[in-house]
Amino acid sequence: MKRREFIALPAKSLGGLLVYTLAGIPIRLMAQEGTVRLPLRFFKATEATAIAAACERIFPSDESGPGAKEAGVIIYIDRQLAGPFGRDRYRYTKAPFVESVPEHGYQGKANPQEIYRDGLRQLGEDFADLDAAKQDERLRAIESTAFFRMLSTHTIEGMFSDPMHGGNAGRIGWQLIGYPGPLMSYRDEIDKNYGQPWRRKPLSLEQVIGRPVKGWEDERD
């Protein structure tokens, strides 16, 4: 049997952190200490550490607010890759695969799982151990690759998608930007607050509708 792989993340990325933003101003509160081990679905632990480090350079935790680390973006990516998206269940994958003009988009055969495995080779085994400047240098060198485009897109998705998908832990990404979540009704707000930020403590879809919701990656296909 395959050995289960885990990643250790800061405890605050499990939803305990209360960062509440009004009008785009991030307020950092003290988080819990310690780390938590989370089971991985696709990556090996070393791979997850490298990808997490790259995500952290793309959307860093810095003076402008929390980043990929606190949001648990790596968990989001791991689950997407293990699910139907990672295996290209929703892309036309019949041969022949031929190169074409840029207006035809990605025409390759490799699925997202394979693109990530290839990207990990480009990052190098030592990526997580490098200092930030060295990491940035390596990322800049692969900026135009399909892998990097996917990684940066997925980092943003992991920051701002509903927490059911594994990222945006504790709705920290939504708090950072002042997005209130799928609140159902703005009927009484739409024609008010002209030019004024309307910000509320965000709620997840599960909190709004009062029952558990599964992402596509958690459904059997």
């Binding site: 785009g24 991030p26 350079r57 793309i58 959307f59 860093p60 810095d62 402008s64 290209d88 929703y90 892309r91 036309y92 994958t93 019949k94 022949p96 031929v98 074409s100 003009v101 840029p102 207006e103 035809h104 988009g105 990605y106 025409q107 990322l139 980092t155 943003i156 998705e157 920051m159 701002f160 998608s161 509903d162 059911m164 998908h165 990404g173 939504w174 930007i177 002042g178 997005y179 209130p180 799928p182 609140l183 159902m184 009704s185 703005y186 009927r187 707000e189 739409i190 024609d191 607050n193 030019g195 004024q196 930020p197 309307w198 879809l205 509708i209 029952r211 919701v213 992402g215 596509w216």
Partner: protein
């Protein structure tokens, strides 16, 4: 192949037009109607509430057809090798009961009267020599005036909210005074106005334009339609286009038509039914063959066959079934597959000082100006013969898709600390001013079957040959100029082109789902596939509904026109065909 009991009518596709046809026929006649839908069953609003998730629905596009099963191929010109569209980009075909009518945005404008007689209009005004090269626009065989009563029926059915600008020739300020004459005021008033809309309203008035509320099928108030269907007012939740409505406020086939059909004894709906061929002999359709959800091959004989399977699949089914003359762009012969059009969806990014609360809204919540919708005329825009509806909408923006829009020059990188800071600063202060402009038809833009790629059953994919011409580039440049002046008058910083016409047609980014043509309607059997009642010229017991019938695409959104043409077809079927089956024209 299992052969089922014959029925009076089989309809392929359970979207807007298939279910509208089914509703009209089963309500007004005792004919037995079977609808075959290859997707799943209708979803209830409560189910849609659990789908208010940007990632799965706006980005992974869960309501759309699974492109792994079937896609289209594309090439820019005849002679090039086409490649498959491997992931969705420029348009989003729907699936399941309701089809794209579930995930549309609800914009419900009429087309301008001149669009229906565009060939006559342009030739009369400019003369043949001054028209763009290879122009292939045609008259529809139906006029705006003939369609007007059916527009009104469609508006009532959906409860469209708006403000009339031309009531029987009387111009009314605040409405679209440049639209065709209407017989009635809209069934519902316009929506409330967002901040972005208020900026656009003031700017367009300052510049001397005529702003009007975009007519929309997301209800501005609770409404009961003439069929007795009651729906609640829209809550502006922002989960609209690409989602189903969580309360039924947006007109969708599942909430406006299915309740009428559900208890009809002469109506049968079979989901999971993938139609592959129309069976026919001696200019008579005999039924359709399909694969059911268990993989079994089934023959459904029928007296009448209706194709309502969206623009591209309508054309593909006819090509696969060998019905009609495939179009040959080199010889200019044949009619099936010609006049493929999309839309000149062209806009610019705007950046504001103050936040917009852009997560609030509804698909069709917006304001437009009608000033540049039709032919702008050579004095206003030389060489541009079709304009567009220039608009802002507060459609409800999700945080993933709206994060990262920053004015040009603010940051070099698209990642890292500096970029993050800038992106956070501009979040919720970025908007778009957009035009849904007409797309003229050209001889070279067309569809046929791909010689290489196939769907999951091994049937050839549809191949689109489509590219922009100099006319679309002139349209885009002209529209950009107007949009930039409006944007500046709104007090915004101007960003780059949003969506838009670039050098070549691009399948990688969303433009609109308004893909038209291929099975076009017209007044002559030589130049069109279906007659003005959407009946096949050569096979009178075969009818083809939807945007496939458009000889060219208009300014604005097509759904209302598609529904109006379907109501008119159903009227002709019930009033004339049932009494005397045969060719109506």
């Amino acid at each position: 192949m299992e052969r089922l009991k014959p029925v009076d009518m089989v309809i392929v596709g359970g979207g807007w037009t298939g279910l509208l046809m089914a509703t009209e026929i089963t309500t007004r006649t005792s004919l037995s109607v079977v609808v075959l839908e290859r997707g799943g069953a209708a979803r209830a609003p409560a189910e849609y509430a659990a789908q208010m998730d940007e990632l799965d629905y706006n980005i992974r596009l869960r309501l759309m057809q699974n492109i792994a099963d079937e896609t289209i191929t594309h090439r820019h010109s005849n002679g090039e090798r086409a490649v498959p569209v491997r992931q969705y980009g420029s348009f989003h075909p729907g699936t399941g009961v309701g089809g794209a009518g579930e995930h549309w945005g609800g914009v419900s404008n009429r087309f301008l009267p001149e669009l229906f007689i565009l060939d006559t209009y342009l030739r009369r005004k400019y003369g043949f020599a001054k028209l763009p090269e290879n122009l292939a626009v045609q008259d529809w065989g139906v006029t705006y005036e003939e369609l007007e009563p059916y527009y009104w029926r469609a508006e009532q059915m959906m409860g469209v909210g708006g403000k009339a600008g031309n009531l029987g020739g009387k111009l009314i300020e605040g409405g679209n005074t440049l639209e065709g004459p209407r017989s009635h005021e809209y069934p519902n008033p316009p929506h409330r106005m967002s901040y972005l809309m208020s900026l656009f309203q003031k700017a367009s008035l300052d510049l001397g334009y005529h702003p009007y509320p975009i007519p929309t099928a997301t209800l501005s108030q609770a409404y009961t339609n003439p069929d007795g269907i009651t729906r609640p007012a829209c809550l502006c939740c922002g989960y609209c286009s690409r989602y189903g409505c969580m309360i039924g406020a947006k007109a969708q086939p599942s909430t406006t038509l299915m309740p009428l059909l559900a208890n009809k004894k002469n109506f049968t709906l079979r989901t999971g039914s993938w139609v592959r061929r129309v069976m026919h002999r001696d200019r008579k359709a005999e039924g359709v063959s399909y694969i059911d959800s268990s993989g079994k091959e089934i023959l459904q004989p029928a007296e009448v066959v209706v194709l309502s399977s969206w623009t591209l699949n309508n054309a593909r089914l006819l090509l696969l079934s060998g019905i009609g003359d495939p179009y040959d762009p080199t010889a200019g012969k044949g009619s099936l597959g010609k006049n493929l059009t999309h839309q000149v969806s062209h806009g610019v990014h705007l950046f504001f000082d103050k936040p917009l609360n852009n997560f609030m809204g509804a698909g069709g919540l917006g304001l437009g100006i009608g000033d540049f919708e039709g032919d702008p005329g050579p004095d206003v825009a030389p060489g541009v013969m079709a304009g567009g509806a220039i608009r802002v909408t507060s459609g409800g923006e999700g945080p993933i898709s709206s994060f990262g829009r920053v004015p040009p020059g603010e940051t070099k990188s698209k990642w890292g600390s500096e970029w993050k800071k800038v992106a956070l600063n501009w979040y919720d202060r970025a908007g778009e001013i957009m035009a849904e402009a007409a797309h003229l038809a050209y001889r070279q833009n067309c569809m046929d079957l791909d010689p290489t790629y196939t769907d999951k059953f091994g049937d050839p994919l549809l191949r689109l040959t489509l590219d922009w011409t100099e006319h679309e580039k002139r349209q885009a440049a002209f529209i950009t100029k107007i949009e930039v002046s409006l944007g500046k008058a709104m007090g915004a910083k101007i960003g780059g082109i949003a969506r838009g016409v670039r050098d070549h047609y691009d399948v990688t980014y969303y433009q609109s789902t308004h893909v038209q043509g291929g099975v076009i309607m017209g007044a002559s059997p030589e130049r069109s596939v279906v007659n003005p009642w959407l009946q096949h010229w050569r096979v009178p017991n075969l009818w083809v509904t939807g945007g496939s019938a458009f000889p060219q695409n208009g300014s604005g959104n097509p759904t209302l026109t598609i529904l109006a043409a379907t109501y008119r077809a159903a009227d002709a079927f019930v009033g004339r065909y049932v009494k005397k089956p045969g060719a109506l024209a």
